[in-house]
């Protein structure tokens, strides 16, 4: 499965994932406390500079990921034009883009294995008081393994539908799809038990 980590190696790829997540929490809280347009503008500029530092390829792929925000920016723009509060609108829009941009930046520069390492670290206190966290790790592995497989089976179902009907496969496909998931789960459970269980 392809994760959202950027293939462009940056200096931030080497930093500790936990430190990056902690810094992100602080930065996001800061953005929500900061109530000035120049302040938000400066934060936005810093965010853009962080994206630009590793080069053009990284910058472009980062900006593409922020594009999904445009309907909300449009709503904010229209709203604050109608209510004649452009400064407030600019502040909200800048904060939104900067907060999402910084969070995506952490995702883009942190490998999946490092992120799973943070989860293991966070779960360590649970292990110390005797709670099994193996189930959680197994669950993560199973989802990563089975999502592309289920998606492929769903696509096959949808093609089978199209081969037989002139109409689009709508919600009716959800039932056989869920049945496939349940049957796969039963097989996986038996296979896990056969290999000695958890």
């Amino acid at each position: 499965m392809i994760s959202l980590t950027s293939p462009v190696e940056t200096w931030a790829h080497g930093w500790r994932a936990g430190a990056k997540l902690g810094a992100l929490c602080l930065a996001t809280m800061g953005l929500f406390v900061l109530n000035s347009v120049p302040g938000q503008g400066a934060a936005f500029a810093v965010m853009l500079a962080l994206y630009a530092a590793p080069g053009a390829v990284f910058f472009r792929s980062g900006i593409v990921r922020l594009r999904i925000l445009w309907p909300f920016l449009l709503v904010i723009l229209l709203w604050h034009l109608v209510t004649a509060t452009p400064a407030e609108g600019a502040e909200i829009a800048l904060r939104l883009v900067t907060a999402v941009g910084l969070a995506n930046l952490v995702t883009m520069t942190t490998r999946l294995s490092d992120m799973i390492g943070v989860v293991r670290w966070l779960a360590a206190p649970l292990r110390r008081i005797g709670i099994q966290t193996r189930a959680l790790e197994l669950g993560i592995a199973l989802v990563i393994r089975f999502t592309p497989m289920l998606a492929a089976k769903g696509a096959a179902l949808s093609r089978a539908w199209r081969a037989r009907s002139p109409r689009r496969p709508g919600w009716r496909i959800v039932l056989p799809f869920t049945l496939i998931a349940i049957d796969d789960a039963e097989h996986v459970a038996e296979a896990l038990k056969a290999r000695g269980g958890i």
Binding site: L96, A103, G139, W171, L179, L192
Partner: protein, 184 residues
């Protein structure tokens, strides 16, 4: 134990896969993905606890940076985005939908699961509206206005969740944990 983990993991994968499958189109052009339908099914099929765990597992992987949300979205950015409230509300909605399905046993499953999914949907909107109000700095009423376009789609999805849960119960009664005997 193995069976519970496998069902939880496969339903988490099902939510992700439903985000990839073509979206249902409403008559007036609002696209709805089947992803939140998957969240409701986790609750109505697996029950409150396991349903919520399946959704939490799905969200954990989204936060870790896998592009599992509909449209290939993922990563930590979705939590602080305008729709972050909906994402955070997903596991709570699944829990509530599962809770209602488990408790309300003296009605046809299609009805109780459908109503359960609708109640879960109301909880989901409560989270979503609060999240949008915070991120876009609007009042709750203004934020609620922004999401009204999606309510018909989610009402339809609640009905579908009820029908699918009931059909699953006929096809695989043992797997519908929300209705299975407590000893099972």
């Amino acid at each position: 134990m193995e069976r519970n983990i496998a069902l939880i993991a496969l339903f988490a994968a099902l939510i992700a896969a439903l985000g990839i499958i073509p979206a249902v189109m409403l008559p007036f052009g609002v696209p709805i993905t089947a992803q939140s339908l998957g969240v409701m099914l986790c609750g109505t099929v697996l029950g409150a606890k396991r349903g919520a765990l399946a959704v939490l597992l799905f969200l954990l992987l989204v936060c870790l940076g896998l592009p599992l949300l509909s449209g290939g979205k993922g990563g930590l950015g979705v939590l602080v985005g305008p729709t972050g409230g909906f994402v955070i509300g997903f596991p709570v909605a699944a829990f509530v939908a599962g809770f209602v399905t488990e408790r309300w046993r003296n009605a046809p499953l299609a009805l109780s699961a459908g109503v359960a999914a609708a109640v879960g949907g109301v909880v989901l909107y409560a989270f979503g509206i609060v999240g949008m109000a915070i991120v876009l700095d609007k009042t709750l009423a203004q934020a609620a206005l922004l999401v009204t376009a999606f309510i018909p789609g989610d009402a339809i999805k609640a009905v579908i969740a009820g029908l699918v849960t009931s059909a699953l119960y006929r096809a695989r009664p043992r797997a519908v944990l929300s209705r299975a005997r407590p000893a099972a």
